[in-house]
Each structure stands twice: as C-alpha cells, then as structure tokens.
Amino acid sequence: MKQFIFVTHFLLVAAFVGVWQTPADANELVVYSARNEHLIQPLFDAYTEQTGTNIRFITDKEGPLLARLKAEGASTPADILITVDAGNLWHAAEEGILQPVFSQTLQRNIPANLRDEKNRWFGLSLRARTLVYSTERVRPEQLSTYEALGDAAWKGRLLLRTSKKVYNQSLVAMLLAAHGEAVTENIVRSWVGNLAAAPLANDTQVMEAILAGQGDVGIVNTYYFGRLQQKNPNLKLALYWPNQGTGAGGVHVNVSGAGITRHAKHRAEAIRFLEWLSSEKAQNLFADGNLEYPVNPQVKAHPDVAAWGTFHASDLPLSRAGELQKRAIKLMDRAGYR
C-alpha cells in the first residue's frame, strides 16, 4: 500500500510539473485558430523561418474559441484569431473581440467586399459554394441558378448538406439579402420539396451520394470537390457556376480569415503577420493547401483550382452574411430544411 501511495504522489507531482507552461515571451505570436492545424502549421513554419518569430497556437471550434476569448478578456494570451466563414468573423467583431487595424498593405491586397468595413477582420482565402452535378445524368445547360434548383425538373434529384452548417446559413443569408424574406423562404421550401434524401452531414457525403446515383445535383464548397477530384481524376462530377447572367447576383463566395484581438500583446508583430499572410508567397501557401482561391487578386490559384474556370462572384459585402445569419436559420427551420 505504501508503494501505491508513493506511485500516486509521484504521478501527481510529475503531472503538474510536466504540464505547467511557461509564460509568453517577447518575440512570439499567439494564435487561436478554427482553421485546422494541418492547414495553418505550414504557414507558421514558413513565417518562423523567415522572421524568427515563434508562433504558438491552439485550435478549437469557433464557438468555444470566441467564448474563451470573451472570458479571458484583457488577460488573453491570443494576438490573432483565425476562423472560417464570414458569419463567424462578423460575430467575433460584433462581440468586440477584434480590434480595427489600418494597414495600406492589407487594404491593397484584399478586395473590399472580402474584409470588414471597419477593418476588424480580413478574408485570407476564398471558397465558392457552387453547384455540383453528375456528368452522367445532367447536362450543364439544364442548370442556371441556385434558385432554379427548386424547379419541378429537379424533383427527387437534389441533395443538400444540413442547414446546421454555417456555409449553408451564409448562402441562404445572401439569398435573403438579394430577395427578401418571403421569396427566399419559398426558394428554400422548393429545395426541400426536391430533395432526393434527407439533408446529409457534409459536402463529401453529398458528392458521394450523387456518384452513387441517389441524386443528380447538389451544392458544395469548391475545395471538397477539389479533394475528391485529386483522389480520382476521372470523377463523374463537375462544378457549375450559377447565377452568371447580368443581375443574377453571381456565385456565392465565402472566406476564411483573421483579425487581431482587442487585447493583443504583440499588436505590431501581429499586423506584420497578417500583412505577410496577404502577400503573394503566403497566399499560395494559405489557399493551395486546401484548394481554395487566394483573396489577393494578384496571386494565381493552384492549377487544379484554376482548371475549374473563371466565374463572376457575388460582390455583396460578406458581413451581410453574419448580420442575416440568425434570420436565415429561422427561415430554414420554418421551411423544414434540416
């Protein structure tokens, strides 16, 4: 029994000593990220190599990260918040977690609709949420707009991801901005009426269901398509760019982006890092790892991404997606879109 007590004490002491952390040192940045480790780590490594600045980070979902930043308040170690989806960025800004940053470089490198009007967050990579169809059963001429997916021709042929995913909430929020409440609700209802199967958990499942013949057309983020395509170059699926006519609104795009926290301890260094992220070299690292589009118009997309062709993107300010998100969710709930 003495041994047991000894071992227990030993383990406890070892545990506490071992996982105790050292406080932040001067030449470093602390990042909270909702973007995955394997997507951001290469960037951090490149930046550290180039500048000698050490970057420490944790990853988590947006919700817990925001709650954590709010709770930590002025004592937060975080300098930068990286997250996915304009709705989340908008919300972080609304909560007062991010501070405005005025930088000529950022203004120049990032188009106005992909950053916050008050300069609290900046889009860093762009993804389109577009249509995907079976090349075996659908001809591209049959497709036209997001709205037209509710037409009778697609009865029992449409596949959608769950409305609980923020990407769909942003898409519907943008439709809401364009059409207003009543029309958008009808559009969503007509989608639900055309579903070939109950909404799926993720975009990959949507594409796999189309491949398996459960449905013919769906709405997905471009990089999920890119991933499948890299695995199987002869994929019997293709992307379609909807709403390309004049006044049709353009393809719905979204960003992953970053902002500097209100209580950042290394503000100047953090700004330098954001500027670097919007630069040519970093833009490719940032976007290509996930097959996304660079936000910086001077930077070319990954060849596989460029091969999907060019499109006219919606130029509505992305912050509208955040403002309208709550209404969009309520609308989807009413329309029975799970």
């Binding site: 029994m1 996982v19 709770a71 609980k164």
Partner: protein
C-alpha cells in the same frame, strides 16, 4: 448504506445542502469527509451554476422559435434515442455480463475482456465507419443492388434504428463492465440456493441474480443515458436532430451562448430527476454480500447453447469492433503515407499520459467521496454526491465553457492578489495549464469513477467496518487495510472506464489544453472538422489501439485480484 433515510425531493435540495454544510462546519468527528465531499461537489457545481445563471437573461425569441419549429420533433427524437439506447445497452450489457461471469462456454475467457474493447471506440468514429459501410454507395448497398437489381431495397443508413445501434455498440460496455463486476462479487451461492429451491437457471437469473445486481445495472444505464443525451458527434454524423444538436444550433448558429446554456440546464434537470427517481425506487434495499465469491461453479452451458453463446458474443464483437476496424484500416492504408509521421509518438504519449493521470485523480476523488458517504451517510452528503455526478450529463463544450469562466475568474482573483500583496505578475495559474485540464476531467468523469467505486463499496458489508473499528482501527487505517483490498476490482473498473473516456474526450481537451499538448482525439478533431474522414482513420485506429492496452492490463489485474476467474477454469 443507511437504508431508512428518506429520499429528498428536488425542491428542498438547497435546504438540505445548507443544513449539511452548517452541520459540517461544527467541528466533530469525521467532518473532514464532509469537507472533501463538499469540495468535490463544489467543483462540479461551479460550472452548473454558470450554466443556470444564464437564465438571468432568458433568450425568449430563440425559445419561441425552437418551440414553433423544431422542438417537438427534437423531443420525440431524443426520447426515442434515449429509451432505445438505454434498453438495448441494458440487454446487451447484462446478457453478456451474465454469460461471461456466470457461465462456461468456449472462448469465454478471451471474450470476457474482448467485449470491453468497444469502449475504446468513440461513437463518432463508429458512426462514420457504419455510414461508410451502409451508405447508398457503400459496399453493402452496392452488393444488394448488384444481386437484386438497381431498384432493390437497401438498409437505410440514416435511420433511427441504425443510430440507436451505433450508440449502443459503443456504450454497452459501461453496463457490461459494471454488471459483470456485480455478478463476480455476488458469487454463486445465491444462484445455487435458487436452483436448490427448484428454479431453472433462467428463472433464477430473473428472480435472484438480476435484482441483486440492480444498482450496478442501473449505474451503467445511467452512464449510458447521460452519454446519449450529451452526444453530439455521433448524431451529427447522421444529421439526426436531438435536444443536444439544438444546443449547438443555439450556440454556433444563433451565436447565443446564453440560449445554449439555458437549453443545457433543461437537459441537466431531466437527468437529475431521472437519477432521483431511480434511486427512490431502490432506496430501501441493501446489496452487501457477506462472503467473497465461491469458485469453480460456473454454469456449464451444454450442447447448442455453448455455440449460441459464443456466436452471440462474437456477433456483438463483429458489429462493434471487427467490421468498423476493417473499414478504418481500409481507409488508413490509403492515407498512411500522407498522414503518418513522428508526431504520432507524441500524440500517443500525451493521450496515454493524460488518461493515466486523469484516471488516478478521478479514482482517488471517487474513492474519497464514496468512502466519505459510507462513513457519514446522510441526506446532505447524498444530495452533494448526486450533484457531483451531473458533470457527465452536459454536452462537452458547454461544460468546458462553464468550467472555463470560473477558472478565469479565480485566476484573475489570485493574480490580482499576488500583484497587490507582493508585486508579482504570475500570469495564468490555472487556465492554459495542465491543472485546469485535470480539474475539468475530474468534473466531467467523476460520475464514471464514482459509479464503479461506489458499486464496489456497497458490496462490503457494514459489519466489517464495525469489526475493524472495534479492533481499534481508525478511519484511514480501515480504508487502507480493509476497504482498498476489497475494492480492488471496483477501483480497476473505475480506472479503466475513466482512462478510456479521457482518451476519447474532445471538447474539454480542446478548450483547456496547454499550447502544444495535442492528443490523438485532438488530431481526429482536426481532420474530421473539415470532413477528412479517411485521413482521420489512422489516428482513430491508433486511439483504439492505445485504449486496448489499459483495458487488457486492467482486466487482467482485476481477474487476478478476484481470484475466482482464473482458478475456476483450472479447477
């Protein structure tokens, strides 16, 4: 356990708690136990209070919206899921425990620990593996369509029975392990007595064995219920809406943490009421067994029964473990080159280490609470212990935030104090350190450890305590020399469950881990949050393998301690 204590209703918990506290303040014998129990319950109560205080600003518009649209369906779904998973886990867990503990059939020894392995399979992993197998384009449906033509009926992958099955196959080990322990410590003598009185083995099982194992079965089922109610990963893989998915929607979709907290408080209240009801139903019974197990008298299954038992146990293993592992391996081989690197050693190390330390802490705390309750039974203690068990019923991220807020407050308080008093700037002492993480695990998993330890504690007849006391052994000496040896199986059970649970745990680990402490579960989160399921197969398999190790070790140690298991086979 004091059998005649009246059960308190939910309404006067506060008054009882208050009385228990005030009585404990008076210096007296054993008041240290009250202090211990109170401290541990206070740890759990802190996040619960944070969550309940969200009601200071009710978010009625979200409630109204949910009520008008999705809530009725959610409640039906949640009820079906909870009842289905609890019943199915009870049936699987008890029947398998009875077969491996009380009967003799080919392969029993290996199966008795192999049947625990699904414990190491996280529900969200099994869900994805099952979807991979059963989905419209998966091998099963393709085979059926290939055999019977394209219009043939295929099993619907996203149906309530499949979701119930997935959760059951990952959760039944709680019931299995606790019940098996009960059967092993219960001994064969009751069974023999019943048989002598003319009962058939099955009748004896229903009339005698099962009622005597009831607290353990109920304890296991309660754990299953809490896991099911708090589950998000598994149900969201199927896009199945439950009450917990509504909590996430309120938080991540409506950006309303208060609404999420208010919904969570309802969930906790429901669990609390169920706990009270269950305990009220069995409050007046005692379950102590005066002698350890009689050996060598397992019921020998004859003829076809032997093979049926074997086939049944293997069938469960096939569905819960072999098929999903096969699917995961198929994926892992494809992504191995891309995924595997030297970091895996550090991931495994962090997972094992956190699991081990967390298990030690939770088991010690459970032991303290269970022994304290034994030494000083009373309504106050019981109320506190019940509250202390509620940490398991909250969705992980909600509990994580509930814990984080008081920790930050404490940090701020301490650092202000140190600054004012000594001019020191210590930085965060709790948040972002391993200490916060371990405290959070304690709050989360106390219920798991406590159910196992307390169950074993009930098996020790109170008159042994009396005898030891008369022989002049003090409280601590009795614990060390009498209870600990008799509790060995219970402690090992608790340690196994907590160890594996911590390794699987995601939200608390994500929120409280220090910089650079990445575990296998974190790695799985990284890959799955953007849908990279096939790449997540390798860390998932590694997690499974790492979880198998403690299970096998603990089970072997437990069998050795019980003595009965091995000797009976030789005899």
């Amino acid at each position: 356990m004091a059998a005649s204590e009246p059960i308190i209703g939910a309404m006067n918990v506060k008054a009882r708690l208050f009385r228990a506290f005030t009585s404990s303040v008076r210096p007296g014998r054993d008041s240290g136990w009250t202090l211990l129990i109170a401290t541990i319950s206070a740890l759990v109560l802190a996040p619960l209070l944070v969550i309940f205080t969200a009601w200071r600003q009710p978010v009625w518009d979200i409630w109204e919206h949910l009520y008008a649209t999705v809530l009725p369906d959610l409640l039906v779904n949640t009820a079906m899921l909870s009842v289905g998973v609890c019943v199915a886990s009870a049936v699987l867990g008890v029947s398998l425990a009875w077969l491996t503990a009380m009967c003799e059939f080919p392969g029993r020894r290996v199966l008795s620990w192999a049947l625990l392995l699904p414990l190491a399979m996280p529900g969200y992993v099994l869900a994805v593996a099952v979807l991979g197998l059963l989905d419209f384009g998966g091998p099963v449906a393709s085979l059926i369509r290939g055999l019977f033509g394209p219009g043939a009926w295929t099993p619907p992958a996203r149906s309530t029975p499949v979701i119930i099955a997935v959760l059951t196959l990952t959760l039944y080990p709680y019931v299995y392990l606790l019940t098996r322990n009960a059967f092993l410590t219960q001994g064969q003598r009751v069974l023999e007595a019943a048989r002598t009185l003319g009962c058939s083995p099955f009748r004896a099982f229903y009339k005698v064995i099962l009622p005597m194992a009831r607290p353990w079965v109920a304890g296991g089922v309660m754990l299953v219920l809490m896991e099911t109610l708090a589950d998000f990963g598994t149900v969201s893989a199927f896009n199945f809406d439950t009450f917990t998915t509504a909590i996430y929607k309120a938080w991540y979709g409506f950006f309303s943490l208060p609404a999420a907290a208010q919904l969570s408080s309802c969930l906790v209240t429901v669990v609390f009421v169920v706990v009270l009801l269950e305990q009220r139903l069995r409050s007046r019974r005692r379950y102590a067994e005066s002698r350890p197990i009689a050996t060598g008298t397992r019921l020998r299954l004859e003829g076809p029964w032997r093979w049926l038992a074997l086939a049944y146990a293997c069938g469960v293993l096939l569905l819960a473990l072999v098929l999903p592992v096969g699917q995961l391996m198929f994926w892992a081989i494809g992504s191995f080159g891309e995924e595997f690197n030297g970091r895996y050693l550090s991931l495994i190390y962090h997972s094992l280490r956190l699991g081990l330390i967390g298990a030690v802490i939770v088991v010690l705390a459970s032991l303290g609470v269970a022994y304290g309750q034994r030494r000083r039974p009373g309504p106050g203690h019981r109320a506190m212990v019940r509250l202390a068990n509620l940490g398991y019923a909250l969705p992980g991220p909600v509990l994580a935030v509930g814990l984080f807020i008081p920790m930050i407050a404490l940090d701020r308080y301490v650092s202000t104090f140190l600054q004012d008093a000594f001019g020191l700037e210590p930085g965060a002492l709790l948040t972002g350190t391993g200490l916060a993480m371990l405290l959070a695990y304690l709050v989360r998993f106390l219920a798991v450890g406590f159910k196992a330890v307390d169950g074993a504690m009930h098996r020790i007849p109170p008159h042994l305590d009396e005898a030891a006391r008369l022989m002049g052994h003090g409280g601590f000496s009795r614990l060390m020399r009498l209870h600990l040896p008799l509790l060995r199986n219970g402690l090992l059970t608790a340690a196994t469950l907590v160890f594996v649970d911590i390794m699987k745990e995601m939200p608390i680990t994500l929120m409280t881990r220090p910089f650079g402490v990445d575990t296998l579960a974190v790695k799985i989160f990284e890959l799955t949050s953007e849908g990279e399921w096939e790449r997540a197969a390798l860390p998932a398999l590694t997690l499974l393998a790492a979880g198998v190790l403690p299970i096998v070790l603990f089970m072997r140690a437990g069998e050795g301690a019980g003595g009965s298991g091995r000797r009976s086979e030789k005899g």
